[in-house]
């Protein structure tokens, strides 16, 4: 590592390797692989071009160019080996971390999913009503690249086609198949048979095809896949005034900068859009004291859960290692193999198996072990905490058992002998010689085990889903929730989807874990230096 900056060392291996000209076969393989990558990239860029996603298009183009340069130029050897992994790392690790930070400062979530334009068209198209006496169109349901669409024949006999995204537009009469006055097929589109229509009825009745690009002109909707009527929205957006008017109720909603349309007296329309909200998500626990209190409880429990899980499993594992490691004991291999089985069992299944065992009414533990008692193992706040700890110790002790055994075996026998000769009791030998040595070698593993359990999503979520719920808090927070399950519940469980708040919580977790690891690792270093 000290030679990084010495020029000879840096260039020498490169030159040595580059002396050999690449063989024709490897050259061919390389070019073929690059061609595949480029083809995919060009395909993607075409789609992006039509979707007008310019920024992504430019980034993709630049990356593709870079990849070509790296693999076609004769030098840049390290880059040739690093690029494939780095691309995935950049997109799915580094980018998503930065993106998380960005989301934490937005109101992204249910009701604030997209841009303002999308919100306006959603509001307009969600509130349509049939216009009485409007013209009737003959239609055929067709499917194209952009999804379901309507092939419509207007009362005047004009043939048009459109989808939910693209407004109706006239088609080339030469490409149309007519059945009497009604157009039934169009080149480039698949007409749905009556059977398909029956199968996809819900989709078809929900389909709204705009008459024009301006949504206020109305939509075509069909209920029987043969005739369509004109529907119009009772929400009208006024671009100049930036207001949304409900023509039926006569209410005017305005954009007051909160990512939604609202009236002066606080009435809000359900569909809003994404905006930056600054530190609002981070301040949320402080502005809602009950939630803040629950969050503090969750944070403390997360620490308690991680420390107790690691501690209990370690103590049990160490005790077993000391007990079962006696060479005079026959069949100790059998004990060892059987007791590490929980470690071999897929961990996502363990929690679900225990879920059945601990069921209050029908579970094995209550029925068979406690004589049909109704002990609420998973639904009482304190018992649920005990239960998840028992399950997690069950999952974790075999690992601790194995590493303690390994560590004990690596402590030289001479140390024990010397101490015994000096008159130390077995307890003294263990307490002042073996245990400190063992702790030094297992400390890094205990820390990573702590970090793992701090975010032990599976044990908690699959067993209790974080429940039972804490009473008196509006948000869905439970007594056994860890911070990570809270992130998941905040982001992905129905009714609560708030991506901004969830991202803010994950940044909080990151800060905690990073601090704890940094402190812990510097402490273990100190521990190592002592010896």
């Amino acid at each position: 590592m000290t030679t990084t900056s010495t020029p000879e060392r840096r260039i020498a291996p490169k030159r040595g390797i580059m002396h050999q000209p690449p063989s024709a076969r490897s050259m061919l393989v390389k070019i073929a692989l690059l061609a595949i990558v480029d083809a995919i990239a060009v395909f993607a860029m075409t789609i992006l071009f039509f979707q007008e996603s310019w920024l992504v298009l430019v980034i993709l183009g630049a990356v593709t160019l870079l990849v070509n340069v790296i693999y076609l130029s004769p030098g840049l050897l390290p880059a040739k080996y690093l690029t494939p992994g780095l691309i995935f790392l950049a997109v799915f690790q580094i980018f998503v971390v930065l993106y998380s930070c960005y989301i934490a400062f937005t109101n992204y979530g249910d009701g604030h999913n997209s841009t303002k334009d999308d919100a306006i068209s959603a509001l307009v198209s969600q509130n349509t009503q049939r216009i009485e006496g409007s013209p009737v169109y003959q239609v055929q349901v067709v499917e194209g690249a952009g999804g379901l669409g309507l092939l419509a024949t207007s009362p005047e006999g004009e043939v048009l086609v459109g989808t939910a995204e693209d407004a109706l537009a006239p088609v080339d009469p030469g490409a149309v198949t007519q059945d009497g006055p009604r157009a039934t097929a169009l080149e480039g589109w698949t007409s749905l048979s009556m059977q398909d229509v029956l199968q996809r009825q819900q989709e078809i009745t929900a389909l709204q095809v705009p008459l024009e690009d301006d949504l206020s002109a109305g939509f075509l909707r069909t209920s029987n896949a043969i005739q369509a009527f004109v529907f119009q929205s009772n929400f009208v957006y006024d671009e100049a005034a930036d207001t949304m008017t409900d023509t039926e109720a006569g209410t005017v909603y305005r954009d007051l900068g909160n990512g939604q349309f609202e009236t002066e007296d606080g009435e809000v329309l359900g569909t809003g859009w994404q905006i930056l909200v600054g530190f609002e998500n981070f301040l949320y626990p402080f502005q809602n004291p009950k939630y803040g209190e629950a969050l503090l409880g969750v944070t403390l429990w997360t620490f308690a859960f991680a420390i107790l899980s690691v501690g209990l499993a370690f103590v049990l594992g160490l005790f077993l290692a000391l007990t079962l490691n006696d060479p005079r004991m026959r069949s100790r291999k059998v004990y060892r193999t059987l007791s590490i089985l929980p470690y071999a069992f897929p961990s996502f299944l363990s929690a679900l198996v225990w879920l059945g065992l601990l069921n209050t009414e029908f579970g094995f533990v209550n029925e068979a072990l406690f004589g049909s008692a109704n002990i609420p193992w998973l639904t009482d706040p304190w018992l649920a905490k005990v239960s998840v700890l028992i399950v997690n110790v069950w999952l974790g002790f075999p690992y601790m058992f194995l590493i303690c055994m390994g560590a004990l075996q690596s402590i030289p026998e001479e140390l024990t002998e010397a101490a015994t000769v000096d008159g130390a009791s077995p307890w003294q030998v263990f307490g002042s010689i073996k245990f400190p040595l063992l702790l030094v070698s297992t400390a890094p593993l205990l820390i990573s085990s702590f970090a793992f359990n701090f975010n032990n999503f599976n044990t908690i979520y699959l067993l209790t889903r974080g429940g039972p719920r804490i009473a008196g808090v509006d948000e869905n927070v439970g007594h056994t929730d860890l911070l990570i399950t809270l992130v998941y519940k905040t982001a992905f469980e129905a009714g609560t989807r708030d991506y901004g708040l969830a991202s803010a919580l994950s940044i909080l977790i990151f800060l905690i874990v990073a601090t704890v690891s940094a402190v812990a690792f510097s402490r273990t270093k100190a521990l190592e230096e002592l010896n």
């Binding site: 060392r9 840096r10 291996p13 040595g16 390797i17 050999q20 050897l77 390290p78 690093l82 992994g85 995935f88 997109v91 799915f92 690790q93 980018f95 998503v96 971390v97 993106y99 998380s100 077993l320 007990t323 004991m329 004990y335 059987l338 007791s339 590490i340 089985l341 929980p342 470690y343 071999a344 897929p346 961990s347 363990s350 679900l352 198996v353 879920l355 059945g356 069921n359 029908f362 094995f364 029925e367 194995l402 590493i403 055994m405 390994g406 560590a407 070698s441 593993l445 999503f457 599976n458 699959l462 990570i484 992130v487 982001a491 991506y499 991202s503 994950s506 940044i507 977790i509 990151f510």
Partner: protein, 284 residues
């Protein structure tokens, strides 16, 4: 040895051993018993091995609403492709770090450790949002696709894995590469035909760890996958018991047994290596 002494020296050890074995295996025995019990509910499962029938297995494999076979296949595909990809990407990077000297090498190694401080688990919201964006351009690799999920997992291919491999690559003497170079081998040839076979043990360990990690993942898989035939075992089996715990349990138990037996068999077969691997890590 007299009985009293035996009890004091060894007997209690056997008692501890028996107690811990019961604690360790009773959930496993229970799930096996429940899977063979034709009763159909949790209640009937509490008398161990009272009855024997494969009804639950038949029901498990014939339920078209919950295609267990497809879940099993998906889990294998995702697990195998991810672990192969992780090993390949990680080994390529480790080779570069171990054998080449370039600017930013030390920073790169340090950066890999740093990036891991923010696990993908925490960025799950951003991952979901990103995949939703990708879905709009490329539905084939976006939400609800196995390829999409594999790509996400490969995002974690570099990192601790590379670091472990890097350490192992360093133990292979550089003189071997140099000899091959003199014989006229190019860098790719050296990597694929000389280095990779020599570091096979670490590749196997990384592959196995990645496979286990991927198949056990519930969080990302449940966020990305949604349609019944695309699920992995973790997500699918969770849905089995999360809906109506009581009635589906024996069928779930059958699914759990089928999913666990191959894994446990592999584990017991490889036990020696896993144990020695852990131990080596423990007493580094």
């Amino acid at each position: 040895m007299r009985f009293g002494k035996w009890l004091r020296v060894l007997g209690w050890r056997h008692l501890v051993g028996i107690a811990i074995v019961i604690f360790a295996i009773f959930p496993l025995v229970y799930v096996l018993s429940a899977s063979l019990n034709p009763g159909g509910t949790l209640t009937g499962s509490n008398q161990l091995f009272r009855a024997f029938s494969i009804d639950n297995y038949v029901q498990l494999l014939s339920d078209s609403r919950r295609p267990y076979g497809a879940w099993f296949g998906n889990t294998l595909i995702v697990g195998i492709v991810t672990s192969l990809g992780t090993v390949l990407l990680g080994a390529l990077a480790a080779y570069a770090f171990s054998r080449m000297r370039f600017t930013g090498r030390r920073q790169g190694l340090f950066g890999l450790i740093l990036v891991q401080m923010f696990p993908q688990l925490l960025a799950v919201v951003a991952i979901y949002a990103l995949m939703r964006g990708i879905s709009e351009v490329f539905p084939a690799v976006g939400l609800d696709t196995l390829i999409g999920l594999i790509m996400i997992y490969l995002g974690g291919a570099l990192g601790v894995n590379t670091y472990l491999m890097y350490g192992f690559f360093n133990t292979v003497p550089a003189s071997i590469d140099e000899a091959a170079k003199i014989d006229g081998a190019g860098h790719a040839r050296i990597f694929f035909t000389i280095i990779l076979p020599l570091v096979a043990p670490i590749l196997a360990v990384i592959g196995l760890l990645s496979f286990i990690g991927t198949t056990n993942d519930f969080l990302l898989a449940s966020v990305i996958l949604s349609s019944p035939d695309k699920l992995t075992l973790a997500v699918g089996l969770f849905r089995y018991v999360s809906e109506e715990t009581n009635t589906n349990y024996p069928v779930f138990a059958a699914g759990a047994v089928l999913a666990a037996i191959p894994v446990m068999a592999l584990f017991l077969y490889l036990q020696k290596y896993i144990v020695s691997g852990l131990t080596a890590g423990a007493v580094k």
